[in-house]
């Protein structure tokens, strides 16, 4: 078992609604995705702050992705937009700290679409794996 688990961790902050539902759909449909991905469920993506994102990197995350509801469909009106501001701010901080900005990603996913979720996750994992050695 140990050999199949990769050491790198990509933290996926998913909101409780569209994003988490598509994550669950991927699980129900048995769609495989990288074992590096560690989902962390939060009530809304608007809860995320640069401090939390930096903490993930400080703890050794290879990359972080914020996954939320599509535009206009946030359960709490504008959490996904708020999160976009945080995403931009955190990218600026990561750049200053010498990290590749692409190690932080932001995606909005429709509820229940496991395939879209899988495709996005694989895409994000590829980007992060490509960029992680380019600081």
């Amino acid at each position: 078992m140990k050999k199949t688990v990769e050491k790198e961790r990509i933290i996926l902050f998913t909101c409780n609604w569209h994003a988490f539902s598509s994550f669950e759909a991927a699980g129900i449909d048995n769609l495989p995705y990288s074992p590096s991905v560690m989902p962390v469920r939060i009530s809304c993506l608007g809860r995320i702050t640069p401090g939390i994102i930096l903490k993930a990197f400080e703890g050794g995350a290879a990359g972080v992705c914020l996954v939320g509801c599509p535009q206009g469909e946030c359960r709490y009106q504008n959490g996904n937009q708020e999160a976009f501001g945080v995403f931009e701010e955190s990218k600026r901080l990561l750049r200053l700290l010498g990290y590749n900005e692409d190690l932080l990603q932001y995606k909005l996913i429709t509820a229940g679409d496991g395939k879209e979720f899988q495709a996005h996750v694989e895409h994000i994992v590829r980007i992060i794996q490509e960029k992680r050695n380019i600081r």
Binding site: G85, E89, R95
Partner: protein, 382 residues
């Protein structure tokens, strides 16, 4: 590691005569809503009740370490220093203050302790600014680029201050060295009692600075200036060069003469906020006032100025709430009541905290006043 009896003795806490002068000037005590605490009660608790009493006191983490109480104390109880020592001990027991901004600032400070970090922090250096890595003057911008990135929505002067500082130094014929990989000076971890982070940051800075041939280090942040000048020699070792705040350098007679050959006459009145680390900690009161006067501004002092100046309300990115906003609002009201058109300060943190209070949609309406850093003001005038 010191013990409680040792820190009580080292900071003269046992000499407290219960006079309560500290309580009457403490900005936190003044604005407390629930419960009551004061430097006097905390010290009394430390001497009579010991460790538990100090840990339970809310002032342990909400103290601004502004030195106002220590300055007025007839028994010279070093309260700010006592708080620093007590926080260090409390941390060992797993206690800590509440970080503001979800611990973002503490996060980047801890991330900077990585020796392999290759920061990209010099994007603000314009082509028109001249720097020289072999220079005998180092300019230490501190966390300015980070504040710029983190508080962009508040329209603060972050890297503008850094650009202004290099522009002024260039004007004086100095091409400073700016280190690409300098770390946070460690002021905030130190005053939060996080000695592990502080030592790691300080050692990295010491090593980097000792590799240069510089004789002077200039900074635009009072906290960096105080930490590099006083805390480093006490805790990890001296830098072996002269550390000064930019205003100290500019107020030297030859420099002020070159910046502003003649004292200008102007009608614009301004007021000045003394940053705690610069005023009470380093006794730099005269230099900024001299520069403001030489530029032709009419300086109107607030009721609390120089050694009685009031802190900007938050310290070390920790425990900020209604109480702190009240301190800031009251200070800004005092600044407005002078009739000055601008509030000048020499510390970027004062600016961030005041602008944060001003951005409140309700209480911010009564406290609007233009806030500017002295460095950018000078750069505009030369």
């Amino acid at each position: 590691m010191k013990t409680y009896p040792e820190i009580i003795k080292a900071n003269q806490a046992w000499l407290c005569i219960d006079c309560g002068k500290c309580s009457s000037v403490c900005p936190i005590t003044l604005h407390l809503v629930d419960g009551y605490t004061s430097p006097r009660l905390l010290v009394e608790g430390a001497v009579t009740g010991g460790e538990e009493s100090v840990i339970e006191d809310p002032l342990l983490w909400s103290c601004l370490t502004c030195q106002r109480c220590a300055e007025i104390c007839p028994s010279q109880v070093q309260f700010s220093n006592f708080i620093q020592n007590a926080r260090q001990l409390a941390r060992e027991k797993g206690h800590s203050g509440q970080c503001t901004h979800s611990g973002m600032v503490q996060g980047w400070m801890r991330m900077m302790t990585d020796p392999g970090l290759e920061q990209k922090r010099l994007d603000w250096l314009d082509q028109g600014l001249r720097t020289n890595p072999e220079s005998d003057v180092i300019y230490f911008p501190g966390c300015l680029p980070y504040y710029d990135a983190a508080f962009a929505q508040m329209d603060i002067e972050g890297t503008e201050i850094a650009r202004a500082a290099v522009k002024i130094l260039n004007h004086l014929g100095i091409e400073p060295a700016v280190l690409e990989n300098e770390r946070c000076c460690g002021h905030d971890p130190y005053w939060q009692g996080d000695m592990d982070t502080f030592r790691k940051l300080a050692e990295l800075n010491l090593e980097m600075i000792s590799r240069t041939s510089a004789k002077r280090l200039v900074t635009t942040c009072p906290e960096c200036a105080y930490t590099l000048k006083n805390t480093y020699p006490e805790q990890v070792g001296g830098l072996g060069l002269e550390v000064m705040h930019l205003t100290e350098l500019l107020a030297e007679s030859e420099n002020i003469g070159r910046l502003f050959p003649q004292e200008q006459n102007g009608q614009v009145s301004v007021t000045y906020q003394d940053p705690c680390r610069m005023g009470r900690f380093m006794d730099i009161y005269q230099q900024p006032r001299k520069l403001i006067g030489q530029m032709g501004f009419q300086l109107v002092e607030m009721d609390h100025h120089r050694h009685t100046s009031i802190c900007c309300g938050t310290s070390c990115w920790s425990t900020c709430g209604k109480l702190n906003k009240d301190v800031q609002a009251e200070r800004l009201k005092e600044a407005r009541s002078t009739g000055g058109e601008k509030l000048i300060t020499s510390c970027v943190k004062c600016q961030i905290h005041f602008k944060c209070a001003q951005s409140d949609p309700i209480s911010g309406q009564d406290i609007q006043l233009e806030i500017q850093d002295l460095t950018t003001l000078i750069a505009e005038k030369i």
